[in-house]
Symmetry: C2
């Protein structure tokens, strides 16, 4: 399972065996069951998680009690409540498991120490964060310029593997539409 993390980093910077062991020593391993929460609204956000296997979702509950999915995270994805984690605030999001999952997780302190000690890791995280920004900007433009059907088609195209692992209800919530509307689209 270390290989998953190593490969992910290796796509951006090259690490010797020793360097990777050093990187790894900053992380912990966690195993979670379906339905288990790893981050909860109103609570501190001590870690960012790198998913090794399984599937998680982060979601926001608005003032009328409605859930909105911000992100799904499967193997190779990073997930946390960014606002809580980076600003050391309590979570406004919840994160739980859609499937049994395993993650490598790291504290902000350890991440910063790691970056200070091994500059290429800072480069790695910057690249990841940049890619995240691009994806988020595209999602905003998609929400603003596409209708429900176009957004659903785009989701299928972007994440073909997720379609079969996630209930339509949750995909609808991710796309910002009601489950009924999504149901009527899919033929």
């Amino acid at each position: 399972m270390e290989a998953v993390l190593r490969q992910q980093i290796g796509k951006i910077v090259s690490l010797s065996d020793d360097e990777f062991q050093f990187v790894l020593s900053h992380f912990l391993v966690g195993n979670y069951k379906k339905h288990q929460y790893i981050i909860q609204q109103e609570n501190p956000v001590p870690y960012v998680h790198f998913v090794v296997k399984g599937l998680l979702k982060s979601f926001y509950i608005d003032k009328s009690g409605k859930k909105h999915i911000l992100q799904f995270a499967m193997k190779d994805w990073w997930i946390t409540d960014n606002q809580g984690f980076y600003n050391k605030q309590n979570a406004t999001l919840n994160i739980d498991c859609l499937e049994d999952a395993q993650t490598f997780y790291i504290t902000l302190e350890n991440r910063e120490k790691l970056c200070a000690e091994l500059q290429k890791m800072e480069f790695f995280f910057l690249q990841k964060m940049t890619a995240g920004n691009i994806a988020l900007q595209n999602r905003i433009l998609s929400l603003m310029s596409k209708n429900s059907e176009e957004r659903y088609m785009q989701f299928i195209q972007l994440y073909p593997d997720l379609i079969h692992r996630i209930p339509k209800t949750l995909i609808a919530s991710y796309l910002g539409i009601s489950r009924e509307t999504l149901s009527r689209l899919s033929h």
Copy 2:
């Protein structure tokens, strides 16, 4: 005007005079007139800009010809087409000036050289990118969970200074609503 950039960086990492001069040497200065484009769809995106004064907007034109504002950028803000800039692709966005503007701009090569030479600048850019991510995630949740009026109120609260400098039509476009709907909200 150098002071604007220095202060922006100084909020995150401390720089000696020499270090700041070194940082500065990687940037160029640009002056632009109202209505002038600094980035155009289908063209390369050689720079990311740090705004010293004036006001710019980035926008996407969808397939039906409708404009959607992705970002406004005033003093102290960074702006570019991220996808084009970081992935060395042609722009999918346009960026032009709402007011005469001045920016410090830098190429990706220079930015990477700067980060390699002065590690705290990499930390700086990572912090900025992280803050950007948080803002984008909040915007997505806002688009998904709030109605037009709530989004407009939130905009006023977040950017009180912009309200008087930007036509309502453009604010509507940023919020993802029609100008008529916004007009009917504002009493």
